[in-house]
């Protein structure tokens, strides 16, 4: 068996340099500082950190770069930054600030060629394509998912499986898959979606959206075929630590880094 570990990736949603969605680490003085939160996850054994910038303003963007810089100087595990990445200059600025990978979402929908340009310029290893998928088939039909934008409100009519194949062919080095049906529900990943996407591409797939307990993480890997699992709230609210998650997964036969 290959010993390559399945990765556990905590996600920070950051607005104007502050973590949102409420982080409750009791022993952190400034609970809203993404660098402090990332350091804590790092110490607990997180395999990577994903930093999702939801800042809307231009001024906030500079804050984001500064936050990424501070994080990269203190947290020596891979750091993916996504949110509002539209141009090659955006990618360059994030990589220079210390991001290891950059996630492209709606800019890829707007112009798939952007993914090719980004991969050619910076290398596939740092280009993650993030997709928001939603089931569009009826219950009795063969399941089918489409790509949505604007936080799941706007359909693009693009088939999710075909889309990830296209993204991988254009040079995406990894897929960050979020189920819009499950995001925020705590009902677990959409396993059929995860399996369909994972089987469709040769590049690694990160499952996201819906994690409410540790069994969901195991299911994402063993049933969904995910190479990595991403979660926010179960770690933020200290329901479980990263090390709890790893121990639970290891006991159920998932190869993890401990």
């Amino acid at each position: 068996m290959s010993a390559l570990a399945k990765r556990i990736i905590p996600c920070l949603d950051v607005d104007g340099g502050r973590v949102v969605k409420g982080v409750q680490f009791l022993d952190i003085r400034d609970a809203g500082d993404p660098v402090e939160v990332a350091k804590r996850y790092n110490e607990e054994g997180a395999d990577e950190i994903t930093f999702l910038d939801i800042t809307a303003t231009h001024e906030g963007r500079d804050t984001t770069l500064h936050t990424v810089e501070r994080m990269a100087a203190e947290v020596f595990i891979p750091l993916t930054v996504g949110g509002g990445v539209k141009t090659l200059a955006d990618i360059k600025a994030l990589l220079r600030a210390g991001a290891d990978k950059v996630a492209i979402n709606s800019a890829a929908v707007h112009s798939p060629e952007f993914v090719r340009e980004a991969a050619e310029k910076f290398g596939s290893q740092c280009i993650v394509v993030a997709i928001d998928a939603k089931r569009v088939s009826k219950d009795e039909e063969t399941p089918r998912w489409e790509i949505f934008t604007h936080g799941g409100r706007k359909s693009t009519g693009i088939d999710a499986v075909q889309w990830v194949r296209q993204m991988a062919a254009l040079g995406a080095g990894e897929i960050l898959l979020t189920s819009m049906d499950r995001d925020g529900t705590k009902n677990g990943f959409d396993l059929a979606l995860t399996r369909a996407i994972s089987d469709a591409v040769s590049v690694p797939v990160i499952a996201s959206g819906g994690v409410g307990n540790l069994q969901h993480l195991v299911d994402g890997v063993l049933e969904g075929g995910a190479d990595a699992v991403l979660a926010a709230s179960i770690f933020h609210f200290q329901e479980y630590s990263i090390s709890d998650a790893k121990q639970y997964m290891a006991e159920r036969g998932v190869e993890v880094r401990q």
Binding site: A3, F76, L95
Partner: protein, 217 residues
């Protein structure tokens, strides 16, 4: 103890993010001067050299040669400790299969080969390419660069091509559908396929070992 005047040059030939490597070195050697440089002459003034690399090998080799780092790296290796990382390691080999075949620096004997589109486990399970994530590195010889790093410790990898080299220079191996060289050593040169600057405690320990390494054996 690190000499406060120790100069560590991180080679910048225009490809990718070198700041992670520089920041990690600054973290383990706060008294050293870590310099990111695109000037081959800086390597002569440095006490030790880090040769990183990300991206496609053809572009990397073109930039390495254009900037004159082909000659400068070969010279540095004769004089001082050099740590090559990821594509930096691949660039030292004879040639790479990537981009329809690319001649590399031919400083170390061996080839860079594609993992393949049909990579599988021994039990037939499909393996994703790139090889991305934390995998175990098996230390095949004792070496000062492995000091205080337990056997089979996990490091962070991200690559689609891997090195096949002569056994006498391999000091660490990794398993991913095949056995490949995770670390090479010859004289003043230590090369790793993984990213120590992204490998948490173990990676920082390796960088610390490099800062203290005298080169040779």
């Amino acid at each position: 103890m690190t000499d406060f005047r120790d100069r560590i040059a991180v080679i910048d030939y225009g490809m990718g993010n070198l700041h992670s490597a520089a920041k990690a070195l600054e973290h383990v050697a706060p008294d050293a001067r870590v310099i990111i440089t695109d000037d081959p002459k800086e390597l002569e003034r440095a006490d030790r050299v880090v040769f990183p690399g990300v991206g496609a090998i053809r572009d990397c080799m073109a930039e390495i040669r254009r900037a004159g780092f082909d000659v400068a790296v070969a010279k540095a290796i004769k004089e001082k400790p050099v740590l090559a990382i990821c594509v930096g390691m691949q660039a030292l080999m004879a040639s790479s299969d990537e981009n329809d075949g690319v001649d590399c620096l031919d400083i170390l004997p061996g080839q860079v080969e594609y993992f393949g589109d049909d990579l599988v486990e021994r039990d037939g399970t499909r393996l994703k390419v790139p090889h991305m994530g934390w995998n175990k590195v098996h230390q095949t010889v004792d070496h000062p660069m492995w000091q205080d790093i337990p056997q089979d410790t996990r490091f962070y990898f991200v690559h689609s091509y891997c090195v096949s080299a002569a056994d006498d220079i391999v000091v660490g191996t990794c398993e991913y559908g095949r056995t490949f060289a995770a670390a090479l050593h010859r004289d003043n040169l230590f090369a790793v396929q993984f990213h120590p600057e992204k490998s948490h405690t173990a990676g920082l320990q390796l960088l610390k070992n490099f800062v203290n390494w005298k080169g040779g054996n």
